[in-house]
């Protein structure tokens, strides 16, 4: 009989205790993985939202612009530099922007806004803006019309829950309103008739048209076809003022941007701010967004450009958010550490009980000729089996939930959702698919087991055979 066979048999001599210990490891691993998956998934979503709808992974800026974001810290961007940067194997495109602040007014409502001058076609390739254009809007008027139409009662009730929501995806609309695939053929045409809005997109440079965020649109009560006025300070202290028609509404997943963003063709922005040919930044579109690739690309580009321009990474551009996430991440890790501490005590309880209960047996085994080293190996294998049983069950149990949560993220509604959005987060919590954090849980359990193994091995090596036999 091999040692592992003896260890496996020993494991089941006290089934209940083995199962309770394995179950405690299972619950720790399961909850740690699910919690971590939600936490990391939420961070990932948040970063992606901000990066892919606003900051980009790398930006070219004037060196003073980040600390003092005003139009005096702009630079002239020429095609030669763009072409040079595009020669880098990881650079797909370099898209200039002219960004500033203004006061937006529509009717009696005013709001401080970010005016983002973009090259519409190229920006769309980088940020996929057109995918986020609002297609349906559940205004109170729309909901009234829908309720009078022939749609199921369940959907009618949900209309009130999602009042004033804007959708750029039909799938999301179906999910929120509880419309099944079978019912979609009959219900969606009705919703399209009453709720759809026709969007234009900023494809014609130089026209006086803008696309605004859904949150801003709601605040200003300005829909497609309405006019807004922008007022601010232009380049070198000039006055900037202009009247623009809202050509589209865009719903960005980051609420603190969605509430204040105005997209405008870059030439219009240059005209508004009297800054011809200037840019405040250029978003660098990359082929690979892997953190390491981003860093290396940034370093390579830094060598091409000259003062006063610098390359900023997404971490530098979103430093506050990165710090907030790091602090939040630490608190999550403390919670998991507490969870594992509890489990460690559970495992130690089992080890202590097992050592006390089988003391006489250990004495007998050594007296008939089993080396202490071999006995310690069998006991270590028993503990490893319990640990891996718990870890395997925990990992297996968490996978369906983690995959489901990734495909169907948890969506908050009502006050809770508002609270999230007020803090600048999207009220959606997806899970992160298995990554190195899965490996870490195994490592942590392994560390607990190694400590327990060291403890039991020490006890065995210090065991006095005669005393043990008397136990």
């Amino acid at each position: 009989m091999k040692d592992y066979q003896l260890a496996w048999k020993n494991l089941w001599r006290n089934k209940r205790r083995t199962l309770i210990t394995a179950a405690s490891v299972f619950f720790a691993v399961f909850f740690a993985l699910v919690m971590r998956s939600f936490q990391l998934g939420a961070y990932d979503r948040l970063f992606k939202n901000v990066i892919e709808s606003y900051s980009g992974y790398l930006q070219l800026q004037h060196e003073d612009y980040f600390d003092d974001p005003n139009l005096d810290n702009t630079f002239k961007i020429d095609q030669t530099l763009i072409d040079q940067m595009k020669e880098d194997p990881n650079v797909n495109d370099v898209v200039p922007r002219l960004e500033s602040f203004a006061l937006a007014a529509a009717g009696s409502h005013t709001q401080g806004v970010i005016v983002l001058g973009i090259d519409p076609d190229r920006e769309d390739k980088v940020m996929k803006i057109s995918n986020k254009l609002v297609k349906y809007k559940l205004t109170s008027g729309t909901i009234g019309k829908l309720k009078n139409d022939s749609i199921p009662d369940k959907t009618k009730k949900l209309l009130d829950v999602f009042s004033n929501e804007a959708y750029y995806s039909e799938a999301r609309l179906m999910m929120d309103l509880g419309i099944s695939d079978e019912d979609s053929a009959t219900i969606l045409p009705i919703i399209r008739r009453h709720a759809s809005i026709s969007n234009g997109y900023l494809t014609e440079n130089g026209t006086s048209e803008v696309v605004i965020g859904d949150g801003l649109s709601e605040y200003l009560k300005a829909g497609v076809g309405d006019t807004i006025v922008l007022m601010g300070q232009g380049y070198h202290g000039t006055t900037a003022a202009g009247k623009y028609m809202v050509k589209g509404i865009i719903k960005l997943p980051a609420p603190d941007i969605d509430n204040v963003i105005v997209y405008i063709p870059i030439e219009s922005a240059r005209e508004l701010y009297a800054a011809p040919g200037m840019a405040t930044s250029a978003v660098i579109s990359l082929n690979s967004n892997d953190d390491n690739d981003i860093l290396q690309t940034g370093n390579r580009l830094q060598k091409i450009i000259s003062d006063p321009m610098i390359i900023k990474t997404w971490q530098q551009l979103n430093a506050l958010m990165v710090n907030q996430m790091e602090a939040d991440n630490k608190s999550g890790m403390i919670m998991i550490a507490v969870l594992y501490m509890v489990i460690a005590f559970g495992v130690f309880g089992t080890v202590l009980m097992m050592l006390a209960e089988r003391k006489r047996e250990f004495g007998m085994l050594v007296s008939i000729g089993m080396k202490k080293k071999r006995l310690a190996k069998v006991i270590s294998l028993e503990m490893l089996f319990i640990g891996f049983l718990g870890v395997a069950a925990g990992v297996a149990g968490s996978l369906p939930l983690v995959f489901y949560g990734n495909i169907h993220p948890l969506k908050f509604t009502g006050e809770f959702a508002r609270m999230y959005e007020d803090m600048g987060f999207e009220a959606v919590m997806p899970t992160m698919l298995p990554d190195t954090f899965y490996l870490w849980q195994v490592v942590v359990v392994l560390v607990i087991l190694v400590i327990a193994i060291i403890f039991s091995t020490r006890k065995i090596f210090r065991m006095n055979v005669i005393n043990a036999m008397r136990a």
Binding site: M1, L6, K9, N10, W12, R13, R360, E361, M364, L365, V366, S367, I368, G369, M370, K371, K372, R374, V465, I466, M469
Partner: protein, 229 residues
């Protein structure tokens, strides 16, 4: 040559300020084929003497030789190997491994010694037959009576052809019938195979069958009676 030689052995325990002489200058020898019992009141040093002879404990004075090997010259890991190769143990409370079958318990030491599977199985069959448990190979200790468990323990002790078997109160937990049956088996092994048995006991049934009765009192041999049939 004597299987076991005990030369002027002392074992002293220091319990706080009191010095207890558990074994006080014992000199004995056991020949091959002995069927000897060590008797004496509780605290007389029977179990201590058995522990010393079995190499489980070291004397504080004197020396013990087993088959010519001086135990005091062996390191603790060598003592474990020595016990496995030369000494068979039968304990009062059977001490079988509860998760193993009777055959696996008997084969356990052979397994530790890495015997080939076929040889191990053949020896296990032979031993279980010799203790009358040929049909209980697959029974777990919990499925066997006390007497049957003790017979498995005897078979286990014999597995690797030890020089002698040390049996500490082997019948203490058995009913009369089981005890007699166990002693029959031990006696038979002693007669037919010349196996040496050294018992420590209070049991008169064991004493009646012994060829030699050694009486200990206060750690000293007070009588060493050899019986002739």
């Amino acid at each position: 040559m004597a299987v076991v030689e005990i030369n002027n052995v002392f074992k002293t325990y220091h319990d706080t300020e009191v010095e207890v002489k558990a074994i006080n200058g014992v000199t004995l020898s056991f020949e091959k084929g002995d069927f000897a019992v060590i008797v004496g009141p509780s605290g007389s040093g029977k179990t201590t003497l058995l522990n010393l002879v079995g190499g489980l404990d070291q004397p504080t004075g004197g020396e013990i030789l087993i088959a010519g090997h001086r135990l005091s010259e062996l390191r603790s890991s060598e003592l474990i190997d020595f016990r496995m190769d030369h000494v068979g143990f039968v304990f009062q409370s059977y001490n079988l491994i509860p998760v193993l079958t009777a055959a696996e318990n008997v084969g356990f030491i052979m397994n530790l010694q890495k015997w080939p599977k076929e040889k191990r199985m053949a020896r296990t069959d032979e031993l279980l037959s010799s203790v009358g448990l040929a049909d209980r190979h697959k029974s777990r200790p919990s499925q066997l009576s006390g007497g049957q468990q003790q017979r498995v323990a005897v078979a286990r002790a014999l597995a690797t052809h030890p020089e002698f078997i040390l049996a500490d109160e082997p019948t203490a937990n058995l009913d009369s019938k089981s005890a007699e049956s166990l002693l029959d088996i031990m006696e038979k092994l002693n007669h037919e195979e010349g196996m040496t048995f050294i018992f420590s006991t209070h049991d008169t049934r064991v004493m009646k069958r012994a060829h030699r009765v050694i009486t200990l009192e206060d750690g000293k041999v007070v009588s060493d009676e050899i019986r002739t049939e």
